[in-house]
Amino acid sequence: MSANTDRTFERISLVCAIGVVAVVFLIGSVLLWESSPVFQKLGWRLLTNSQWDPVGEEFGLVPFIYGTLVSALLALLFAIPFSLGIAIFLTELSPDWLRGPTAFLIELLAAIPSVIYGLWGIFYLAPWLRQSVEPLLIQLNLPLFRGPAYGIGMLAAGIILAIMIIPIIASIARDVFQAVPMHQREAALALGATRWEVTRLAVLKYSESGILGAIFLGLGRALGETMAVTMVIGNRPEISLSLLAPSHTMASVLANEFAEASGALHLSALAAIGISLFVITFLTNAAARFLVWKVSGVAVAGRRE
């Protein structure tokens, strides 16, 4: 009986594992197959051209790749300090009674559908940026903050994405900090370290690989996020150094144009965007694994559980 159930259990697990691998493989091959016409027609121009003109059948992926990477990096820039601050507060500083509710509220942020973030972005964040923040930034007269203050644009997208990935990074970082052995902290305290020194030397140093893992999971989410970004980024396939300018991401152009794409080449170009996004997320994840492995000496297989 028990040997029998063991075998069934083994097989079911195996099927599940193979199934996921097969799905990833199938997605990749379908995208590759669908995008082959545009690769044949335009070749490397796809990756050098910055024009996107479905009517003239001129397709370049550069503005979308740029928009995706810059918006995601901007999000990380905002989200990392906040998330680490939250995690440190929750594990090291917070009084016990506050810990539970705060953690719960932060994790609740992750459960809000992204379209809600988008609506909040368009009705609250964008007007606030336009009226209060961007005029001040423009006065700095830096190339990063040039042009008219639309509210909608790369900056708005970065902020929305940051809010969306904070719960991911914060909750994983909190788990990682909690896993730091107590005697590590006690040892630091015994040496006369202040609270800040304990956190820096005993906790942060010890958790480097875990923090990196958390950041890359957040990055993964930021790269693939579609709906909220589409609503606030302005959807303009143009490369501009200014963060106030509208931009476009790979995920949003897919969401925008796929349903009504008519020409065969247009569909194929969208599939090419799909495969590029696929490759970029694959590379980020691979880089994450590599970094985590390099820092910790052992491959960390998913810190989420």
């Binding site: 003239g56 368009i122 639309y150 609503m231």
Partner: protein
């Protein structure tokens, strides 16, 4: 063992979730499947609802996946009827194994909505000026060419923030089709399409997205469907038509667009820049796509009856949802066309 019970519960739940849609499908009603345009979806839903009240043996399942998807699905025969805002192109028709009929159902208008309190309601624009705004040749509200059309208004020295659709849409198709007719430069540089390479402006997803951009951005000007502008109480412009008259978009002036144009036998026609005296120039038809030879006798008959109902009874409910009914002359012609649908 407790965990085991939980697993059983979860399995039962999964089975239920899978079974629910199947249970909904079972039933005696004849199910007619359709897919396509999102623009007429609110009206079609109302039509299906009203029609089912008198025909309880029928059930409509319409998926508003977009005109392009509607054309693909009717070509692949996965649905009983398709719906599209733009008529099928000659290229798309080559993918058909059998001839398809275009049945216009109602008209829609695309309006230029703006956020410019100084202009009040009823800013006047001409086709050439609209094209130059979207081509970024006119960038300020007090541009002499806008002022010349609106001598009674005091327009500020404020940049025009252009808003357009970011998603592929029939609305963009109608609007770019109009611009291609009124501006040679637009036709040469940008062209007509559901997704085009907009030379300037902010992109919003869907009518609601563009409406949001216009409402939130002082000095914005963008194009949205008439119904959205009316529902959200956004000011929109009167547009000069081919006869030289400035026409305020409305249900009547949209219907008038179909009167001023010679409509071909297959109804595949662009109504933009129509010649009629009172025609609003950025109007278009929306279509149902049905096969001339129906495969299923019961479904074919039910579909024909529904289309007849939609062309007569259905037209009366259109204005309440801000769609323009077809002019009577067109309905008379369509009555004959519907008779051509053959059922086995």
């Amino acid at each position: 063992m407790k965990e085991f019970k939980n697993i059983k519960k979860i399995m039962a739940l999964v089975a239920l979730v899978i079974a629910l849609p199947l249970m909904a499908l079972a039933g005696d009603a004849l199910l007619i499947n359709g897919a396509g345009a999102t623009f007429p979806y609110p009206l079609y839903s109302k039509w299906f609802f009203d029609y089912q009240k008198s025909h309880p043996d029928l059930k409509f399942n319409y998926q508003s996946i977009g005109s392009g998807g509607g054309i693909k699905q009717i070509a692949a025969k996965t649905v009983d009827f398709g719906a599209s805002d733009a008529p099928m192109s000659d290229f798309e028709e080559t993918s058909l194994s059998q001839p398809i009929l275009h049945i216009p159902t109602v008209l829609g208008a695309v309006v230029l909505a703006y956020n410019q309190p100084a202009a009040g309601a009823g800013l006047k624009l001409s086709g050439a000026v609209i094209a130059d705004i979207f081509l970024e040749h006119i960038t300020k509200w007090n541009d002499p060419r806008i002022v010349a059309l609106n001598p009674d208004k005091t327009l500020p020295d404020q940049p025009i923030v252009v808003a357009h659709r970011s998603d592929g849409s029939g609305t963009s198709y109608v609007f770019t089709d109009y611009l291609s007719k009124v501006s040679r430069e637009w036709k040469a540089k940008i062209g007509t399409g559901k997704s085009v390479s907009w030379p300037t402006g902010l992109g919003g997803k869907g009518n609601e997205g563009v409406t949001g951009v216009i409402q939130q951005t002082p000095g914005a000007l963008g194009f949205i469907e008439l119904g959205y502008a009316l529902q959200n109480k956004i000011s929109f412009a009167s547009v000069q038509n081919k006869s030289g008259n400035f026409i305020t978009p409305s249900i009547d002036s949209t219907s008038a667009a179909a009167d001023g144009v010679k409509i071909p036998v297959d109804y595949r026609v662009s109504l933009t820049d129509a010649a009629g005296q009172n025609a609003y120039p950025i109007s278009s038809l929306t279509y149902l796509l049905v096969y001339k030879k129906q495969q299923d006798a019961a479904k074919g008959k039910a579909l024909v009856n529904f289309i007849k109902w939609a062309l007569h009874e259905g037209q009366k409910t259109a204005p309440s949802l801000y769609y323009a009914p077809l002019p009577q002359s067109l309905v008379d012609r369509l009555d004959k066309t519907v008779e051509q649908i053959q059922t086995p």
